[in-house]
């Protein structure tokens, strides 16, 4: 099957039970997407599929055949990445790619998203290090920049 990730095409050969998370990490060598729970709660595996944030551990690779996948490796120095660094939105970095992709999707869908919308969306993912304040501040800062 074919995976289109960050605009590049990957021809891969996987069992039907291979999750998208594992296919990205192993077959495509894109280890920026992390696996934290394999049952759809922590969100560390969040990637964007056809514009929507999804949990790559809950999708089979074959379900992504023909879809446009975006991962953290494709963000390329975004305002969000800059904001995470400026606002101390990460400590160990393990949950960070998932949050970046989640926030990217949220702000692309709604660049002027309200505080409540942002917090509601960010509650999809778990962080154990930061207590969330830096993550929320970073996403709101980018939203504020978009408003200006």
């Amino acid at each position: 099957m074919q995976l289109t990730v960050n605009g590049a095409r990957y021809d891969i050969d996987v069992e039907p039970r291979r999750t998208l998370a594992d296919a990205l990490r192993l077959e495509c060598g894109l280890t920026g997407t992390h696996v934290g729970c394999e049952h759809g709660v922590c969100g560390a595996c969040t990637v964007i599929m056809d514009g929507e944030p999804i949990r790559a551990c809950l999708i089979f690779a074959i379900q992504a055949d023909g879809a446009a996948i975006r991962t953290v490796e494709g963000l390329g120095g975004s305002a969000l990445q800059e904001a995470f660094m400026a606002h101390h939105g990460l400590q160990c970095g393990f949950c960070t790619p998932g949050f970046l992709m989640l926030a990217t999707a949220v702000l692309e869908r709604d660049p002027v998203a309200s505080d409540e919308t942002i917090i509601e969306a960010l509650s999809s993912n778990l962080c154990r290090c930061t207590g969330y304040a830096g993550i929320i501040a970073a996403v709101m800062a980018v939203r504020d920049q978009g408003i200006r």
Partner: protein, 768 residues
Amino acid sequence: MRESEHWVGRAIRRKEDAALVAGQGCYTADLPAPRHVRFVRSPVAAGRIAAITASPGAQMFTAADLAGVAPLRPLIEKFGYVPITQKILADGVVRYCGEPIAAMVAATEAEAEDWAEQVTIEIDSTTPVTDALAALDPAAPIVRADAPGNLVLDTRFASATAAAEPALRLRSTIRSRRQNASPIEPRAAHAAFDRASGRVTLTCTTQTPHLMRTAIADLIGMPESELRVIAPDVGDGFGQKMSLAPEFVVLVWLARRLRTTLAWTEDRRENLMASFHSRDMSVTLEGGFAPDGRLLSIEADVIANVGAYAPYPNTAAVEPLMSLAELPGPYDFAAYACRARGVVTNTCASAPYRGVARPAITLAMERLMDKAAAALGLDPADIRRRNLVAAFPHTSPTGLVYDEGSYRETMEMALAAAAVPAFRARQAALRRENRYLGLGIAAFCERTGYGTPAFAARGMAVTPGWETVALSIDPSGFVEARIGASPHGQGLATTLAQIVADALGVTPDKVRVIHGDTDRTPYGFGTFASRSLVLSGGALTFAGRALRAKLGAIAAGLLEADAADIEIRDNVARIAGTDRTLPVAALARASYHQAHRFPALSPGLSETATYDPAGTFSNACHVAVVEVDVETYAVRIERFIVAEDAGRLINPMIAEGQIRGGVAQGIANALFEEIVYDGDTGDILTTTLADYLLPTCREIPPIEIHHLETISDATVTGAKGLGEGGTIGAPAAILNAINDALAPFGAVLDEIPATPLRIHAALALARS
């Protein structure tokens, strides 16, 4: 001439971040391997293994194959500790649900999992016991024959001072339920065999690479020099990754046996079942108070459920012993007696988790203070004012020396921020509308940055404490600091670079901190116990001073000036007050390639230094304002205030991040997280994140942080540790606030997590 501080104290961005936000971090599970390992684990809590049968074609290893590997036996040689052992793979008997029994090897993770699922294990189950109090019953099942009475520890302490006869004797018991540190990155190991040298490189999720190396080499019976341990990017740890995972030993053994490279990653279910648990404790206090609220005496009874095995290196005594030693906390009283017991049960081993024992003992003391205040008609702040240590140095009843701190001042600061009188007025008004708000205080001090002298008191066979660093400047003027600490999110590569930058007169971008590789760094004890910034920072200060002196001498020689007149700042050496300068790079180059010009100096720029202090105490006060919904029993945290004093803050942004993360875990400890076992079968019931509730951003309110900086002599950098404080005070502040909210009903709750079910039960009990 002494350069003023230039980088220390500034909230500069972290050097770690650029790679991590780009998804370019390298975590253990990111490493490819031709072979993968999956463990077969006990489905039952207790029993004798009758047979282990794999499908034909499976490559399976069991305890029989690992007969040459020694059992884990972490030791404490004091306090009558019973050193229970652990076979690396269960040998004949299983003692908790999830215990590893066999290792399956296959070409892929999926295949290894397939083989593991096909293994049948016949176990003759025996009756388990999972509750500590139940295990203390004389009729209880014996968890293990080498722990008579199901005890690994039953020790007592009594201070010399006898208590004056108190006006009020008050008894209070708290129950802290079992926690799992739950790092988002599950544990993983990658063992690579090098055919040329015969060495194994173990890349793993550890907080203590050198200790892992020593331990694993000992157990396998291999020279330590044949093992290299690397901690790559590690996705947080909170203590859970400081204890040796038996699975790591299996990986190294397999790499040597099969002469290949293997990888293992646990899944979340395995982490919840079979990593390490903590905080499963009951603490009963009997406090003696004078009529004015002065605390005269404490008698404590600490019971810790330590699980079926002992973690290396801290042993199964870590929580009860630390409770015994540190229970007096920030309060000034002399008559103290404590009995501390470690009880084995058929559960996963308990090991250090951020805060270690102090969340539970702080919970106990702070609940007692509130109850005493109520009994004596005192304000909860007043009773604390009367008892918080105010003169330093202060020696606790157990002989711990508290250096300069601000225990009262942080409480006043937090209370001022809380605007208590206005809150009380609002609380009263809202009660008339059937809404119940409460305010809770938790004052505490946190032992940090302590070296060998302090650890030695515990009598551990592995006595950690000192930290050594190797600081060098290469011919290009670039600085390398190699440390034995092992950060996993704490930002040490940044904060230590700030310290080194100030010590040498360079900029932090010219400083690379190397850590987490036993082939490249001096022997050290890793990162835990809020120690690394204090200890590695202190050692780097010493090494930095020595190198700075050398740089000054070289500059003096090259510039033909007095060393005393040399200033070094922003990578440039200058004769003070002149335009005569040389870049540090030129000094470095001369040191290596023109060494003959400096006969009084050794060639090159390299210094090692060790720091091994007695330790220091930071302090803080947490104040929580909550609302308890008396129909749904939900708790809403309206405000959470932290006033903390950790001495000099090297990087305020990083310091605040540590506080916020710790408080979030403390809040979750107070309200949500609980590992639950079935009391009859011993099965673990919380095996997914839908059962074990980690907080999302919705559950964590904005945390208001206030700082004080008390500089003490006990730490060379002026910095104290603060990484654990958030977990230590938050549960007590929240539980006290909940009790304050429920006070009109006469309801009392002394158990965490304070779930809706427990709040409902407390209210129902009060009504009856």
